[in-house]
Structure formats: C-alpha cells, structure tokens
C-alpha cells in the first residue's frame, strides 16, 4: 500500500512554547477586528445584510418558493375546483378544503365545484411546493412572500379570502372552462 510519510514541521523553541505563534495569532485576530470594525462604523456592513432595512426581494430567483396562494383567472373565476389533490399530497397536512357546489344559476355552473372553505395552516406549511405541482387546474401557486407573521395560531391560518388576496389574478394559463374555446 502506498503511503506518504508526513514530516512534522520543525519548530523553533519560541514556537514550541507558543510565544511567537501566540503573538502571530493575536496579530491575525487584531487585523480582522480592525478591518471589520472599520466597515461597521456608521452601520455600513459589507457582507452582512441588515435584514429589515435591506432585503433581497428583487433578487429572489424565479423558482423561489414562498407562501402558497390561490389565484383567479382573467374572468374573475376561482381556478380551484376543490378536487382536494393538494390536501391529499400535502406532506405536513397543512391544507384543509371543504368543497362546495356551484349553484346552477351561476355562469360557471358547469364547473360544478369550488371550495367553500380553503385553509392553509402556515405554521404547518413547509413550502415544499407539492400543492402547486399536483394541481391539475393551476390554481395554487407558491408566491415570493416569505415573511408570514401573526400573533396567534389562528392568525397564522390563511383562509380562502386571504389566499386569494395574496394570489391575485393569473392570466394566460389553461382556459378549458371557457365558453369560447
């Protein structure tokens, strides 16, 4: 078996008793301290981002997975048909859907179903994006918002209204429910 013998470095006496090496170490740390201190003055940091004042919102990549939200199409129709696939696939079981029927008087009566309630518990959500991936109607999307805060557990559950508020309108996707096809 091939092996390499690594010689231990020969140390001078002052290195052996930590004298010169200690001073060298102090010099290194002092150098770092002075350099960083200079950049810190006036709260201008080079590397560290001062979070609430500085944000990376404009530099988030296209594929960024933020909070999940529901969207409507250009006609203002809820895209979700409450098939509950996202509820079933959701690994942390964060999604709760109660399906509701669309009355026959509604112009979109042939869609038949829409969610009566759609809750996403943001304490449970792990931002995995499975709901978006599984959705056959392209109704649920992960947006770029990431700062979800609340003062109670109840506040952290996003209901249907809130989800549509975050999601907004998405145009130019599948339009299979339209009359003009």
């Amino acid at each position: 078996m091939a092996f390499v013998t690594v010689e231990r470095p020969k140390l001078a006496w002052h290195e052996k008793i930590f004298l010169s090496t200690f001073v060298k170490g102090l010099k290194v740390t002092l150098g770092h301290a002075i350099r960083t201190f200079k950049t810190l003055r006036g709260s201008k940091t080079v590397v560290t981002m001062q979070y609430p004042e500085q944000k990376w919102d404009d530099q988030l990549p296209e594929y960024y997975r933020g909070v999940p939200a529901l969207v409507t199409d250009e006609q203002g129709r809820e895209r979700c048909v409450s098939c509950q696939l996202c509820e079933f696939i959701c690994p942390p079981k964060a999604i709760k859907i109660i399906p509701g029927e669309i009355p026959s008087t509604d112009p979109w009566a042939k869609v038949e179903k829409r969610p009566a309630e759609f809750d996403i518990d943001m304490i449970r959500c792990i931002y995995c994006g499975m709901c978006e991936e599984v959705c056959p109607e392209q109704a649920i999307f992960l947006r770029k918002d990431y700062a979800v805060t609340g003062e109670s557990r109840a506040e952290m559950v996003h209901d249907k209204e809130r989800l549509y508020e975050i999601g907004g309108v998405r145009t130019g996707l599948v339009n299979k429910w339209n009359e003009l096809k």
Binding site: T29, L30, R41, T48
Partner: protein
Amino acid sequence: MELFLANLNLTFLIASVVKVIFLTFMVIMPMVAYSVYAERRVSAVIQDRVGPNRVGMPLTLLGFKKDLQIFGIGGLAQPLADGLKFILKEDFTPRHVNTFYYWLAPCLTIVPALLTAAVMPFGSELNLDVLGVAQPIKMVIADLNVGPLFIFAISSLGVYGIVIAGWASNSKYPFLGGVRSSAQMISYELSLGLSIVPVLMIFGELNLSKMSIYQDANGWLLLPLWGDGLSASRWILLIPVAISFLVFTISMFAETNRVPFDLPECETELVAGYHTEYSSMKFALFFLGEYAAMIVGSGLCVTLFLGGWSIPFAPLLSKLTGFQFHFEAGHTPLLTGLLHIGTFFAKVFAFIIFFIWVRWTLPRFRFDQLMKLGWLVFFELALANVFLTALLLWLVPLK
C-alpha cells in the same frame, strides 16, 4: 455600648457604605454587563461578524438628534436587555437536584468574587473639602495590610461554588465540569500565589494602596521610568518582575476559567460544564461571578504591576504642566482624585479587552497539557523566580 457609640466614626461609616454601593453596584455590575457586551462585539469583529447592534439607547425618543453610539456603533442597551431577559426567564429547578446546594452554589460563586473587590484600591483619595468633609477619603473599601493574601484567601473559595454546582446538579456533565474546575483552580492557585511573592519582596509591603502610592512616585513595576524607578536595581529587577507578570497573568486566565483554560465549561465536551442545569438568574449569577472575578483579577494585576490608579509619568507631568497629577497624602486635589479613579478603571478595562482578545485567538488546551503547564512549568518557574529575586535584591539592594 456607649463606648462603642462614642468611638463610632460616622464619616468613616457613611464613606464606607457609599464606597461599597459605588464600587459594587455602580462600577462592577455595569462593568460586568458591558464586559459581556464587549465580549460579544469584539468576538464579532474578530470573526468578521456584526454582533448585537440593534438594542440602542433611544435618545431620539427624548428629543435628541441621534441615538447614543460609541464610535458609530449601536447596541449599547444590549446588556440592559440581557439583564431583563435573565430576570424574566423561568427559574427552573430540575427535580433530580439537591435543592439546598443547588441554590447555594451560585451565591458561593458571586460572593467571593465581589468580596475580593473590598481591598482593591480603585483610586488614591478624594478631597471632599467642598462637602465639608475634613479628612480626605481613601478610595478603597477596606485598607487591609494583607491585601493580596486576603484576595487569594477569598477568591479560592470561589471553587466551592463551582464544585457544589457540579455536585448538586446530579448530572454527569456538570459533575465532570466541577471536577475539572476544582483540579484546575487548585493547581493554578499555587503558581498564582507564588508568582507574586517576588513582587511583594520588592515592595516590602502587603498593603495594596501603599503599593500603588509607591508606584505612583517611583514608576510602575513594569515601567520604571521616573522617580526611584530609574535606579539600576529596579531595571535589573525587571527580569523577575516580567517573569512573575507572565506567570501571574496566565495563571489568572486559568483561575477565572477563561480560554485557553476554559476546560470546566468547554462546550464541545461538557455541554456547558458546571452550570448546565442552571437557568434564569441563577445562571446569570454564575456569569456575573465569572466576569466579576475577571475584573478583580485584572484589578489586582493592574495594582501590582501596572501602577494601579497612578497616571503614567505623573510626577513628570506635574512638573511640566503645573497641575498636580501625582498623589500626595492629604494634598491631592479633587480632580486628580477623580482622574485616578478613571485611570484605574481604564486600565482594568484595557486588561479585560486583552482577556477577550486572547479568548477569540487561542484554541483550548487539552486537560493533560493544562496540568503539565501548571505543575511542571509555572510552579517551578514561580518558585525559582522567588530565589532569583532574593538573589538580585541581595546583590543590588533597593534604596
């Protein structure tokens, strides 16, 4: 009883109480708090981080133009926030501990550390003629004639706090931390005590305030550049003094459980060492005791080697400027007295910054290296140094 009341010196009594309150609650406690802050900020800049910079002194709320900052760096109220956090946290006592000793241990850590501050001369004397006090008041709580001995006697009690904490916690990591700590502190106490014997021989004195007065007039022990300090014997004696300073400083690092000798609480092996099971204010007391011990140790080192409260080149400065910078018994102006207090704490603070700097520079020693260093190197070195000093004092006696 009447005799006792008649002999009661009211000025002395009031002055002592004021000094105790001033030193403990207005100097050491805030100094501990800000040492922790300094520790966090210095460690941050050494590691190219920012550190706590958010909790500012909100002077803008009071109508000032800017928040209070030092060198353009905020976060000065962080120690207050930390203290508040410690008070408000849940004080949890695990069920498996020995409650009495568990409660006793933090007290045993903090009390010796604060007690030793009693003999520390933190200033020369204050001439309070303006307030109608005839006698100038000495800036030391107890002007004992056995200063260093008192400090060693009391500070060695600090090991009990740690050992009892480790034992009472009834858990393996605190136990190991306590055992290590007692071994370490007992080992290094030897070299710590022996290392200052040469200094005491040179001073011929065990009173810390008199040592400071001597150094004020005749040059610091490590900086003999004025007064008698310019004599040949003082310069020759610099050799044992330097050795003793080195041994004393390093032993003090070990005594106060600081890196590179922080084996009692090395996080990688022992979780947090002897205070693993402590929370809230009891943990804060350990913290406080540790930093207070550091401050007192620095104070002792400054008093012995670096002139205590004396301003460098004070007699020369007095001659040059006409203002009295040096100490003169009974004739020290009030301003000079205040300057001396400021000088002392500035020196102590510089020493603490050095402590912190070293902590973030060196890695931790192995336990056998620590013991070897204590017993095989420093003990012998300190002992030999005593004889060397005796020899030098015999060959070139001081005036």
